[in-house]
């Protein structure tokens, strides 16, 4: 009996200590599977643009932080259920997501692109280099028509719950066969195996994969921005947490002014993706 008492007292103390130690820490959720935004090194440590930026922002906020891992498809529900206090996971600011959570100002932005394996008949489409879907001009509308014709009946693979899936579901490029995956890694695997005729994601996600795997993945068609692709990537925060939102906005201002964001972005992306 004595042992059980002592044991449960020990458990209680440990629990109390771990709660109180975490009480004033900002917990930031990230996926750890979307390089170069966020990923893991060989030892399982979280690395990437957003991980480094998160530490920088926390320094400006002047509070201790903890970065936690969360599967992409449960990211927003986990934030709402208070598993962590902020999302930094390459999450674009979109109207749909803003119905559920708030976003800080954007800290980085980069374009999306279709990718195919070398030798695909989707190569060499006659489209402009990039189109913006917020107010599509004549060239952008023509490009969407070209894409609609080229992608008819094709299987296009995307990660689930992403802006890329939203775009394909929106019908802007007609009725394509959309296949959704839990992680971008799995999209890349099935693109390489030939199960997907094309894949849609952040352009850097494909160039990163091509570089690391040596697979002949090539970008095709225009790069996409605006519209369903949102307005840059920001920190996702619970709607009632305005204090933290202001703190992040201020910290992003400072980090931008001091050149931290563009320095870290250049380090991880190879170009300045900051905004």
């Amino acid at each position: 009996m004595n042992i059980i008492k002592k044991f449960s007292l020990g458990v209680l103390i440990t629990l109390f200590l771990s709660f109180s130690a975490n009480a004033d820490k900002i917990k930031i959720g990230t996926e750890g599977a979307y390089p170069p935004w966020n990923s893991k090194d060989a030892s399982g440590k979280l690395i990437g643009f957003e991980v480094e930026l998160a530490w920088t922002l926390c320094r400006y906020i002047g509070q201790q932080c903890e970065i936690v891992e969360q599967d992409w498809d449960g990211m927003i529900p986990a934030l709402i259920m208070r598993k962590f206090d902020a999302i930094m996971a390459g999450m674009s600011i979109t109207a749909e997501r803003q119905k559920a959570i708030s976003f800080s100002q954007g800290y980085a932005d980069e374009v999306a692109s279709l990718a195919v394996m070398k030798g695909s008949d989707l190569e060499g489409m006659d489209t402009p280099a990039g189109i913006n879907l917020t107010k599509p001009n004549a060239a952008a509308k023509k490009a969407l028509k070209t894409l609609t014709a080229a992608l008819a009946g094709k299987t296009v693979c995307v990660q689930t719950a992403t802006i890329h899936q939203n775009f394909l579901d929106s019908g802007d490029v007609g009725k394509v066969n959309v296949r959704t995956y839990k992680t971008q890694d799995e999209v890349n695997l099935d693109l390489a195996s030939g199960r997907c005729d094309a894949a849609l994601a952040a352009a850097v996600a494909f160039s990163d994969y091509a570089e690391k795997s040596g697979k002949p993945v090539v970008l095709v068609g225009p790069t996409f921005s605006g519209g369903a692709f949102g307005n840059g990537v920001g920190v996702g925060i619970r709607k009632d947490d305005t204090e933290l939102l202001n703190a992040f906005n201020k910290a992003i201002d400072k980090a931008r002014k001091n050149g931290d964001i563009s320095r870290i972005a250049t380090k991880w992306f190879g170009f300045d993706a900051s905004m």
């Binding site: 498809d73 449960g74 927003i76 529900p77 709402i80 749909e96 997501r97 559920a100 959570i101 693979c157 689930t160 719950a161 899936q165 296949r179 959704t180 995956y181 839990k182 799995e186 695997l189 099935d190 390489a192 195996s193 030939g194 199960r195």
Partner: protein, 223 residues
């Protein structure tokens, strides 16, 4: 609680249940044949033949279904040679990959269920047949198989329910089954509790039906 979302997502989820049921029936039919085949060769006296059946059931019962489905879907897809063969026509489709994984998995469990059922048949029953001068082939079909099926019904009913829940892993290889569609709805509404309650309710209902069908069969074939 967003009851409106629960009601609105019900038709979409019921539609997806159709795919779940298709996966389940196909896997159970293939799995039953695989299981019967391996149960019979497991009882073979030749050590090489019955070891083969033993290793099959050991491997598929000893590894998680998720690992099996990943090896068949993502693993085999990495082998370049395989992609140039006729097999790729089947392995290219997530639907068939899922059915192959589920069938092999449930086949392993079914073979064990049937094997133990065969072994519980009292020698006296077979000897009774022999003393009447019935050939061993007819003893097998008319005595051993019917008794084995009756003996294995409770355990097999359990296996059907386990497999029904196992089909939810089809969503990990891009299939839009009940779980897949539930996750899709969550990805646009960010409300997991409501949607999973409805999906869980549908799974429970399916369990209820399977459970009662097995109970009915048990009664019908009791002796």
């Amino acid at each position: 609680m967003d009851f409106e979302l629960m009601i609105n997502s019900l038709p979409k989820l019921l539609n997806a249940t159709f795919i779940t049921l298709k996966l389940l029936t196909a896997s159970l039919i293939f799995g039953l044949f695989i299981g019967l085949f391996f149960a019979i060769i497991r009882l073979n006296k030749n050590p090489i033949i019955n070891k083969f059946a033993y290793v099959y059931s050991y491997v598929f019962r000893g590894t998680p279904l998720l690992v099996q489905i990943f090896i068949i879907y993502f693993g085999l897809g990495q082998i370049e040679y395989l992609r140039s063969t006729a097999l790729w026509v089947i392995l290219k489709e997530p639907y068939w990959c899922a059915i192959i994984a589920f069938s092999l998995n449930t086949g392993a469990y079914t073979s064990e269920i049937l094997r133990s059922a065969f072994q519980t048949i009292k020698p006296g029953m077979i000897e009774a047949g022999q003393s009447l001068g019935i050939s061993s082939k007819i003893i097998f079909y008319k005595i051993q198989i019917p008794i084995a099926i009756r003996q294995s019904l409770p355990a097999y009913g359990n296996e059907i329910i386990l497999m029904m829940k196992g089909t939810s892993l089809a969503s990990t290889v891009t299939l839009m089954d009940l779980t897949g569609v539930a996750k899709y709805i969550i990805s646009t509404t960010f409300k997991p509790i409501e949607v999973f309650i409805v999906a869980g309710g549908i799974y429970l209902f399916m369990t209820f039906i399977i459970h009662n069908v097995i109970k009915f069969l048990e009664k019908k074939y009791s002796y």
